[in-house]
């Protein structure tokens, strides 16, 4: 689709009661920071193109929330070849392909509704989940839960036939009594020892209840294991360290999956008729110590209480962005079984662990 120049803000008559979309300075400019802690300066002028007429009902666009995160961008680059992509994020989309429409809005704003109203949305991919542990509980909750609920409200109202939510295997939580491979019906105990996980578990639960409440929408919840690659999440940042901490006497088996495999899984989940919860696993699992060494790090082995104490101090001094509760991931297994994704989704990881770790090293981790 050729990108129409942002000419003038249109105010279609087909929007009863709709507030002006354009020409208003972003009220959220002060909070328009990155979802993944990206601190690029917010720009006040919305960059999205307007004047786009709603497409005919046969096509429909894919709405991607959190499109400016690394995974969102990657997904957008894959999707825009075959689909019309509409992005929603608080951040500006740097390097946006011309045929992607980007709305720089906060998902909690009413403007979200206009996006749904203005065009035919075929599917919503919710990647815009705030994981940053430095943010306050309140902001995380308001972003992950309130905004998500709003999104679901609009989806129900405009009868969007597909929802893909990117949850994660972390919602199961690392526990000493976990079976080696967790299936999709395992309880979500991720918040049991780590309060920061609470809203991610809740988000997963909300998506599950939406699945039951709106059977006309094909809801897909993806729970990938640790995503690594160029993304900036806890797992990747941990493996980027030269001397990552390991807990003395513990060496759990770990799974990692390349970001592009996750993107592929999302694409597969977007096919019509696919619904349900799917665990996504990478190509094989290996002990943490092997993984760290293969990533080029040398483990610094500390006893558990010492590691906790040290990490708490580093956290306080803002020298580390790992909350000490996350150390449980270095002690207990939290691995998933992807049999259902293989059978029903046709998912197969294609990027090797070596490749994932190579890609990971291309990005530096700065605290």
């Amino acid at each position: 689709m050729p990108d129409p120049q942002p000419t003038r803000p249109t105010k279609p008559s087909a929007r009863p009661g709709g507030e002006p979309v354009e020409g208003r300075p972003s009220a959220r400019a002060s909070v328009a920071l990155g979802v993944f802690g990206d601190s690029s300066p917010p720009i006040a002028k919305p960059s999205h193109t307007s004047g786009v007429r709603p497409r005919p009902a046969t096509e429909g666009a894919v709405l991607v929330t959190g499109i400016c995160g690394r995974l969102g961008k990657l997904l957008a680059r894959e999707l825009h070849r075959s689909d019309t992509v509409v992005g929603v994020d608080r951040r500006p989309f740097v390097g946006r392909p011309k045929d992607i429409t980007h709305h720089e809005v906060d998902m909690r704003r009413k403007k979200m509704k206009d996006i749904f109203r203005g065009r035919n949305i075929r599917a919503v991919v919710h990647v815009g989940v705030l994981h940053d542990p430095r943010r306050s509980d309140r902001e995380r909750h308001s972003w992950n839960i309130v905004a998500f609920q709003k999104l679901l409200e609009y989806m129900a109202q405009y009868e969007v036939p597909k929802l893909v939510v990117l949850s994660g295997a972390n919602v199961y939580g690392p526990q000493s009594n976990n079976p080696q491979f967790l299936t999709e019906d395992a309880p979500l105990l991720g918040a049991q020892h780590f309060g920061g996980m609470r809203d991610l578990v809740e988000l997963d639960m909300i998506a599950q209840s939406f699945f039951w409440k709106h059977p006309s929408t094909d809801t897909v919840i993806l729970r990938p294991c640790h995503i690594v690659g160029r993304v900036r999440n806890a797992a990747s940042n941990y493996l980027r360290l030269d001397r990552p901490v390991m807990i003395m006497g513990f060496d759990p088996m770990m799974q990692v999956v390349h970001e592009k495999d996750v993107v592929r899984a999302i694409q597969l989940a977007l096919r019509p008729g696919v619904r349900g919860i799917f665990n996504i696993r990478g190509p094989g699992e290996m002990p943490l110590s092997h993984l760290v060494r293969q990533a080029g790090g040398r483990p610094r082995v500390l006893p558990s209480p010492l590691a906790r104490l040290a990490l708490d101090q580093l956290w306080r001094l803002r020298l580390s962005s790992f909350p000490s509760q996350e150390l449980d991931h270095l002690r207990y297994v939290c691995m998933v079984d992807d049999a259902r994704a293989r059978e029903e989704l046709g998912y197969e990881p294609t990027h090797s662990i070596d490749r994932a770790l190579r890609d990971l090293r291309r990005v530096r981790y700065l605290v």
Partner: protein, 302 residues
């Protein structure tokens, strides 16, 4: 190396500590090979496991660590406890549940059954056993057990292992059985029902095993319950040999009797009463094998 794709991770050989440890381990393996009269590495190479795409066992089994463990276990098996093994050829091909009586305060019976499967069975069978979940919280133990092929006891894990045709050692008596006091020696306590349900679900033969000799290794005269509760242990046995400074188990002679396999058919979700019948059959078979073994033996140490 046992696995086709298995690689020793980089930088592992760098530390002088590890190198020293490895040379000690190699010496132990060589001594054990002389005593046992078998090639330990060949036995480990002979087992069938199911490595994943990157050549690791999904449950964490590590052949490098296991060869040292098997060497130690082989020394215990052949020298210290002088184990006699009967009927090991009764273990059928493919998936199997090995059900035994539990005894002796420390799970040495599991070690010896595992050594029998590795050293006496032909071809060697890789024994997996289910361990208590709280062992995963203990440092070092939680690292060691998975490397030896031990798996945290959960029905999902057991099902997965049996579906990939592995052999599983189960002690249905659990902690109650192992911490029996001396007056209850060789009297089987209540069996759990889970193992029969598992066998029905996965269509697995059950091989009953009677272990003789375990009860006398650490005779316990009483169970000091308050202290056990305080230390969160299943039991705190009072063992007279400890008062004489003997920490090691008494060198009793172990006898392992493998019975004819049971092949049950039925609904795994049947009522308890229907499953209990099958459990009772296994339990009474093991009890009678134990009784016969006790009658046949001439002494505890010979």
């Amino acid at each position: 190396m046992p696995f086709a794709g298995w690689r020793r991770p980089r930088l592992l050989g760098d530390s002088p500590w590890r190198a020293a440890l490895r040379s000690v381990g190699d010496r132990v393996v060589r001594i054990a090979e002389e005593v046992v009269g078998q090639d330990i590495d060949a036995r480990i190479a002979g087992i069938r496991t199911h490595p994943n795409e990157v050549g690791h066992d999904p449950f964490g089994f590590d052949p490098e660590t296991s060869r040292y463990a098997l060497a130690m276990a082989g020394l215990l098996h052949r020298r210290y406890f002088r184990t006699q093994v009967f009927g090991i050829d009764r273990i059928p091909e493919g998936r199997v549940l090995i059900v035994a009586n539990h005894s002796g305060q420390l799970p040495i019976d599991a070690v010896l059954i595992a050594s029998a499967l590795m050293l006496d069975a032909n071809p060697p069978r890789f024994p997996r056993s289910m361990v208590e979940t709280w062992t995963a919280e203990l440092p070092f133990i939680s690292k060691l057990y998975p490397r030896l092929g031990q798996v945290v006891g959960s029905p999902e894990n057991a099902r997965r292992l049996l579906r990939q045709d592995e052999s599983l050692i189960v002690f249905p008596e659990g902690a109650k059985g192992i911490s029996k006091t001396f007056d209850q020696r060789y009297q089987l306590t209540d069996f759990g029902l889970g193992f029969v349900r598992l066998a029905l679900e996965t269509n697995t033969p059950i091989v009953p095993v009677a272990v003789i000799g375990g009860e006398e290794q650490y005779p316990s005269i009483a169970d000091f319950k308050p202290l056990a509760k305080l230390l969160r242990m299943p039991a705190f046995p009072i063992m007279p040999q400890m008062f004489f400074g003997m920490v090691a188990p008494l060198p009793t002679k172990y006898r392992l009797y493998f019975g004819e396999p049971f092949r049950f058919a039925g609904d795994p979700d049947d009522e308890d009463s229907a499953v209990e019948e099958k459990v009772w059959l296994v339990k009474s078979t093991i009890q009678s094998m134990v009784n016969r073994g006790l009658r046949e033996r001439k002494g505890v140490f010979i």
